[in-house]
Structures are given as C-alpha cells and as structure tokens.
C-alpha cells in the first residue's frame, strides 16, 4: 500500500504525503477562512450532554437527520442561569473549528439560549449586567430584617393565592404583627408601574418594618413584571427592608437580586420575616424557669453572704469584748480569792503563835505547878485579897485539872 502511494507520488499524481496533524490543520484553516463559520447561530435539540470535572460542557445539537458536536468553555457555562438538558431545544452561538487531536469539527459555543426565551432572556441578561455594574445588587446594600416586626407590608394582588398563603403563615407564626396589604396587579402591561407605586405607597403610608413582595407561581411571561427595571429599582429603593417571594424555588428574577432577602416562595417570605410564636412560647417558658432558678440562686447567695457577715460581725461585736472582760473579772476574782486565802492562813498562823505564847504566859502553867485561882461565886471576881472575902462566902476554886466549890471559914492576914 505504502509502495503504491509512493509510486503514485513518483508518477506525479501527488506531490506530498500528509500527516494527520497536517491534514487537520489544513482543514481547520479552510473552515476558518470562511467568515460565516466564525459567527453563527445553530438551533436544535441537545443530546449527549456531559460536563466532566473540568467544568467545560460537551454536547451535540441535532435535528432529525444530523448532529453537530459542540463545546462550551467553563467560564461561558458559569454565566448561564442553568444548564441545558438533553432533548431541550436551544439556540447556540459561536464559531466552527476543528479539534485537531481528534479530527473532529465542532461548534465552540460562547452563548446559549433556551428556545422561546431567546430575546427576553438576552434582555434580562443585559439588564442584569447593567444593574449589577451599578451596584444595585451589592451584598453591602442588603439590610438585616428586624427580629420583631410590628408592621408588615404585603405588596401583592389582593385576590391571589400568594396573599392567602402569606396571611396563613402570619396567623400561624406571628399573629402579633399588623399586616397591611398594598394591592397591585402582578402581571400584565400595567403591572410594573403599579407594583412600583404599591411599594412606594406601603413605605409611605404604613411605615412597615418589613415589606413582602410576593406572587404565586406562573410562566416566565407571567412573572416578567418582576424583571422590569422600574420594579427592580423600586425594590432596591424600598425604605423598609424588602423580602421577595416570587413564583417557585427555581424562579429567580431581577427583583430577587435587588431585594434584601430572597425567599423561594410567598409562604417562605412570610416565614423568613417573622419569628415563630411556638418557639417564642418555649423561649418564654425557658425564661420563666431561668427567672425562678436565678432567683433562688440569688437568694442562696444572699443567705451565704449573710452568714459570712454574721460571723464577721460576731468577731468584732462588743459581746466578744464583754465576754473577755467577764473572763478577766473571773480571773481577777480568782486571784483575789487566792490572795485573801493566803492572807487568812498567814493570819491564822500568827494567831496560833499568839495562842501558844498566851498559853505559855497563861494561868494553866502556873496552876499546874500547884497554884489555884479562887473566884467569888456571886460575881466571878478573882480573889486577890482577904479583904474581898467574908466568912461564909461561896467560892469557886480552879486548879490545873478542874474546879470545886468551897466556903470561906477563918479569916486572917499573912
């Protein structure tokens, strides 16, 4: 085979042998010289969609007869609100080129829109970009909601399901609030203008703590008023913090970006804006328990402190001094008693000495030597002279070991 080809070459039918790289590059150059291939829209159904970890998106656009390979780079994918799905009709924009390594021509997609939304969606993206650049959606503009809203303003259709849902949630969750409805149509030609006026009116007349801008689910067209620039600006300009709850979870509108908080549904908006009274009841009960506990703890502390003070007081009280004085008195008394007793015993000893002395000089010793003491019985007077006695006088005679009676008989002087 190779030989055949070289023979052809020798014969002049072909001047060179291509390598795959050369061929693919050549074909790519041919395609790229066609200006129509550098900027085209391709419409069809998505198939074989895949997004590997690289983040790039690979798929085919096909119709009944044919398919074209497409690739969309990660940074372009990131700008899309959602990914297309297999079987979905889309329009893609980009350029055709060749993936040389695989010999595959493909559409390099830089823009993708979902059929039916095409132009509206482009408008949406442009407006979003513009308002974003203006800072209308900036995170630092977002205000926090009050914990205890007193007045809630509800901007919505007065006949819609959204209002009913919101009121149900408010009645169940936080019936302490005062709800004021600022009625407005939420779809149709007049809607954007009326929504703007309703937002302004509720802020001005009811001075709410928070505003809910809500609408039930609907088609993209039904919700379109909430992508209107006037509405978005009115949302951003609301004096009270504003929560949006528009459509369903998956619907994201420009009003949502401008709101202080976006809730996925009207009911969710009412929930986000209010505390739950069932939880509050629990909290009140806990506080009540906490109050009783804190009170008894406090009392216990006071009692302990009181006890400490009482002890301290006793240490410094006059009673202590009185007690100590009393003790001192006892002590002195004791000492005094001892001293007195000592004195007494000394005196006793002295007296004893005197008695002995006395006895030594007393009559008993004289009597023991044979003397007697004679007293007149009449008056007990000691007889020292015969002149004191007359014949017949009764006398008492004391000798050393007793006494006996006698009578004076013969008188004479010695």
């Amino acid at each position: 085979m190779l030989r055949d080809m070289s023979q052809l070459s020798i014969l002049g039918f072909q001047s060179a042998i291509w390598s795959p790289a050369e061929l693919n590059r050549h074909i790519r150059q041919i395609i790229e010289t066609d200006y129509r291939m550098g900027d085209l829209w391709l419409a069809g159904e998505v198939s074989n969609l895949s997004q590997p970890s690289s983040g790039h998106l690979y798929f085919s656009i096909r119709d009944a007869e044919a398919a074209v390979r497409c690739v969309m780079w990660k940074q372009d994918v990131a700008r899309m609100p959602r990914l297309p799905q297999d079987g979905e009709a889309i329009e893609t924009h980009g350029k055709i080129s060749v993936y040389e390594a695989g010999g595959q021509y493909q559409l390099y997609v830089d823009e993708l829109r979902f059929a039916g939304e095409g132009e509206l969606y482009q408008e949406f993206l442009l407006l979003k970009e513009r308002l974003e650049a203006e800072g209308l959606f900036a995170a630092e503009r977002k205000r926090t909601l009050p914990r205890w809203p007193r007045r809630i303003g509800i901007v919505t259709s007065p006949t819609g399901a959204a209002l009913r849902d919101v009121l149900n949630v408010l009645r169940r969750r936080y019936p302490l609030v005062e709800a004021t409805v600022s009625p407005t149509p939420v779809q149709g030609e007049a809607a954007p203008d009326r929504i703007v006026k309703a937002i302004q009116a509720i802020n001005k007349e009811s001075k709410p703590d928070v505003v809910l801008l809500v609408r039930g689910g609907g088609s993209v067209e039904d919700l379109w008023a909430f992508n209107d620039e006037r509405v978005v600006r009115a949302v951003a300009a609301s004096k009270a913090p504003l929560v949006t709850g528009i459509g369903h979870e998956t619907d994201v509108l420009l009003a949502d970006f401008a709101a202080d908080l976006r809730a996925p549904t009207p009911s969710a908006a009412a929930e986000i804006a209010t505390p739950d009274s069932e939880e509050l009841k629990l909290e009140v009960r806990e506080l009540q328990i906490g109050l009783s506990r804190a009170w008894s703890d406090h009392q216990r502390r006071l009692r302990t402190a009181l006890q400490v003070q009482r002890t301290a007081l006793e240490l410094v009280s006059p009673r202590a001094r009185v007690d100590s004085a009393r003790q001192r008195v006892d002590e002195l008394l004791h000492r005094a008693t001892t001293a007195i007793r000592h004195e007494i015993s000394l005196q006793k000893a002295a007296v004893g000495g005197l008695i002995q002395t006395l006895q030594a000089v007393g009559p008993d010793t004289v009597l023991a030597r044979g003397y007697a003491v004679v007293r007149k019985t009449v008056d007990g007077s000691v007889v020292q002279s015969v002149k004191q006695v007359s014949t017949g006088d009764e006398l008492q005679v004391r000798v050393s070991d007793g006494e006996f009676g006698a009578q004076a008989s013969s008188m004479g002087s010695s």
Binding site: V177, E178, A198, V284
Partner: protein, 73 residues
Amino acid sequence: MAEPKPPGKMRFEEAFEELAAIVGKLEAGDLELEESLGLFERGQALAERSSQLLEEAELTLRQLEGDLTNDPE
C-alpha cells in the same frame, strides 16, 4: 431610670426582651435583696404578659386604598 412601664401595657417584644434582661441580671448576681426581689416580681409579671400576648394574639389586617377595578390577577 424612668418609671418602668406596667407590663399590662407592654408590647410582646418589649416584655420579652426586658424579661431576658432581668434573668441575665439576676444570674449575674451582685444585687441588693430588695432590688432583686423587685426584679423577680417584675420578671414574673413580664413572663405572664408575654405568654398571654402570644396566646391571645390575632392578626390585624388592613389594606391600603387602591383602585383594583379591571386588574387582571
């Protein structure tokens, strides 16, 4: 300090927040007996007021004037 508002005239959030503050004060201690007794009694009244408001509340609903004729929903 201003004369304390009678609990019966307080809004829920006022009563609730003062109650929470009182519990905090009592927990911190450092109070005279008379003062703490006053706080305890006021706390009880506030707790009653808070529960009563929660139990008895009914949503007040008003509507701003608006011309709603011929409005598609």
